[in-house]
Amino acid sequence: MTTATAEHVERGFWTTYVFSTDHKTIAKQYLTLGLFWTLVGGLLAGAMRWQLAWPDSAIPLMGEIGPEVYNMLVTMHGTIMVFFVAMPILLGAFGNFLIPLMIGARDMVFPRLNMLSVWTFALASLVMLASFFVPGGAASAGWTAYPPLSAKAAYTGVEWGLNLWILGLALEFASFLMGGVNYLTTVIALRAPGMTLTRVPLAVWQQLAAATLFLLSVGPLIGGAVMLLLDRTLGTGFYAPELGGDPLLWQHLFWFFGHPEVYVVLLPALGFVLEVLPVFSRKPIFGYRWIIGATVVAAALSFIVWAHHMFISGMDPRLAMPFSVTTILISVPFAWVVFAMIATLWRGSIRFDVPMLWALGFLTMFIIGGLTGIFNGSAPVDLYVSRTYFVVAHFHYTLFSAVVFGGLAGVYYWFPKMFGRMLSGPLGQLHFWLTLIFFNVTFFPMHHIGLAGMVRRIANPLQYDMLVPHQWLNVLATYGALCLLAAQLPFVINLLWSWRAGAPAPRNPWNAATLEWAAPSPPPHLNWGPSVPRVYRGAYEYSVPGEREDWLPQDLAPLARSR
C-alpha cells in the first residue's frame, strides 16, 4: 500500500509541485495556503481595529462599514486565524515536514491520503473564500456561531455565507482528520531503527498529542454542526426552545471541541520552542519525560474544562465550581512545561540567534497569557470579565504567542532545512523586535479596556458613555495593530529574498542533534540515501562532559565517541 519504488524518482512538473505525495512538498503547500490566509485574517483585524478607534469613518480600501459588516469581520477573523492559519501552518506544514524527518522515515505512512488531506484543505479554503462573495456576505454570527443568532438566516441577514461557513469548516475538519490519522500511524509504524518512543523529539510528541486531541474532540462538534445546518435548512429544532431544543446545547458541543482545539494549536508551538531552546542553550532539555507526562495530563484535562467558557451562559450554576477547579488544575501541567523551559535556559551557553529570540518571545508572552487565564478560569472573576476585552487580551497573549512567536521560531529555525537557504539574520532581528513591541502596544491596553467594561464584538465603543474616557486606549491599540501589520514586511522581504538568493544552508547550521539535520538541506525526495538512518541516542545530548563537540547527533554511533 505504501511501497514507493524507484519510478517515483522520475517525476514531472505536476507530480513534483502540484499533485505531490512528498510530505515536504505537502508541507510547503500547507505553508503557502496558511500564509495567504494570514494576510486575509490580518487585514480583517486591521479593518476591525480601524473601526474601533475611529468608529464609522472611512476605512482605507473598504470605505465606511456598519455594524453588520463589523460582525462579519469579527467572525471571519476568528475563524480564519484558528482554522485556516494556525492549523495549516503549525500542524499541516510543520507536522508534515518534521514528523518523517525527525523519526527517520522516508515519507508519511499514507502518502496519497496526505495529498488528499491538503487538497481537501484547499477546497475548504476555496469554499471559505467564496463565502465572502455570496449575497448577504460571509458568516457574521461570531466565530463560535452561537444559536439562536446562527440558527436562523433572518437574525443576521446571512443565508449562504453561514451555510458555506459550515461546509468550509466541515471540509477543513475532514482534512485534518486525515492528517491526524496519518501523523499518529506514521509515528507508530515508521520510526527508524533505534528510534524508541523515548528518543522521539518533543516536537513530534506535541504533534501526536495535538492530533489525538483533535481526533477525539471534533466528533461531537461535527454532530452539532449537522444539527445547526439542519436547523437552518430543514427547520429542525435542536437549538430552538419553542420546538423543544436548547441553544445551550451548541455551546456545550462547541466548547467540548473548542477547548481541546486551543491546545491543538498551542501544543505544536510548544513543541517548536522545546526544540529551539536546548539547541540555542547548548543544554539537554530539562525533564524530557516529565514534559511528555505533563502534556498527556494537560491533554486529558482539556476534555473536562469546556464549561469555563459558559459561566455566564445560563447553564446550571452548580457546574461552575467543578469546571473552575479543572480549569485552574490544568495550569499545573502547563506551568510544569514552562518551568522546564526556564530550567533548560538556566546556566546554558545561550546563543541569541533569531529562532531563539522568537522562542524567548513565546516564553515571556505566554506566561502573561497564562496568568490571565487563571483569572478567567475562576468563576467569580469570570462573571465580571467574561466576554470583555480582558478575555480578548488573554487569548491573544496565549494564541498569538503560540501561533506567531512559536510558529516563527519554527519558521526561522527550519527554513534552512525546508528551502536549503539561510534567512537573513538582521532582517529577522528587526522583524522580531518590531513584532514584540507592537504586539504589546496592541494587546496590553485591552486588559484595561476590558476591565473598564468594553465587551467583545461591539462595533462602536463611543456609544457607551463609560467607555468614552478610555477611547485613547482603543486608538493606541489600533496604532499598535497597524504597526504590527507593517512589522511583517521585513519578514515577507526576508522570505522572498532568502528563498531565491539567501546563503546556501549547510546540512546542520545550528549544530542540532535531532535527526532532520542529518538529511541534506533541502532533503531529497524520500529523504535519505540508500538506507534510513539508525538512531543511537536521545534527541537532546548537548554539552556532554568529555566530548570534543558540544552536541551528539542522534545517528552518531557510540563507537565514534572515541575519535
Binding site: 481526533l215 474532540s217 435542536f238 420546538l243
Partner: protein, 190 residues
C-alpha cells in the same frame, strides 16, 4: 536510486492500516457518542418522547436490525474466505454483505416515506429532529460502507493476497452495525 519506503508493518505485527482504522473509528465513536449523549440528556429532561417514538414501526426496525447483524456475519465469512485465498467465496460473502446493506437502506427508505406521509417530518418536534439526524447520519455511514465493500469486491483478486483489506472493511462495517445496535433501542424501544 533504488530507494524504497520499506516499512509497512509495525514491530508488533499489526498492519498500519489497522492502526489508522482504529484512530478513525475513535473519532467516529466520538461523533455518534456526542449525538447519542445529547439525545439521552434531552430525553431525560423532556416529555412526550415515548408517544412520538410509538409512531415508528418496530417490525421494520427489528427486521433491519436482523439484516444488519446478518451482514456483519457474512463480512466475517468474507474475511475467512480471503484468508483461505478463495476469491469466489470472498465475492459471494461480500455480495451478501452488500445485499444486506441495500436491504437495510431500502427498508429505511420505506420507513422514512411512511413517516413523512403521516406528517412526521424533521421539523415536527425535537424527537423527530433527533430521529432523522441520527438515523440519517447512520444511513450515510451505511452508504460509505457499501462503497468500501464494493471496492473490495471489485478488487477481490488483490484482496485474497492482502486479506487485511477485507479485515479493514469489516472493522468499519462492524462499527456501522454497532452504532445501529445503540440507535435501535434508544429510538424505537425506549
Amino acid at each position: 536510486m533504488a530507494v524504497r519506503l520499506e516499512v509497512e508493518e509495525i514491530p508488533g505485527g499489526i498492519p498500519a492500516g489497522k492502526v489508522a482504522m482504529w484512530w478513525f473509528l475513535a473519532s467516529e465513536i466520538m461523533m455518534f457518542g456526542g449525538l447519542i449523549t445529547c439525545y439521552i440528556v434531552f430525553r431525560l429532561g423532556g416529555s412526550g418522547w415515548a408517544e412520538a417514538s410509538n409512531h415508528l414501526s418496530m417490525t421494520l426496525a427489528a427486521t433491519n436490525t436482523l439484516v444488519l447483524l446478518t451482514s456483519s456475519y457474512t463480512i466475517v465469512q468474507a474475511f475467512v474466505a480471503a484468508e483461505r485465498g478463495s476469491a469466489p467465496a470472498l465475492r459471494r460473502h461480500l455480495g451478501l454483505t452488500i445485499l444486506g446493506g441495500l436491504i437495510f437502506l431500502g427498508i429505511k427508505a420505506v420507513e422514512y416515506t411512511t413517516e413523512i406521509r403521516a406528517g412526521f417530518t424533521p421539523d415536527a418536534g425535537i424527537f423527530w429532529s433527533f430521529y432523522y439526524t441520527m438515523t440519517g447520519l447512520h444511513a450515510l455511514h451505511v452508504m460509505g460502507g457499501l462503497v468500501v465493500n464494493g471496492v473490495v469486491l471489485l478488487t477481490a483478486g488483490t484482496a485474497i493476497k492482502h486479506p487485511h483489506r477485507v479485515e479493514l472493511a469489516g472493522l468499519y462495517w462492524h462499527f456501522v452495525d454497532v452504532v445501529w445496535i445503540f440507535l435501535f433501542p434508544l429510538l424505537y424501544l425506549a
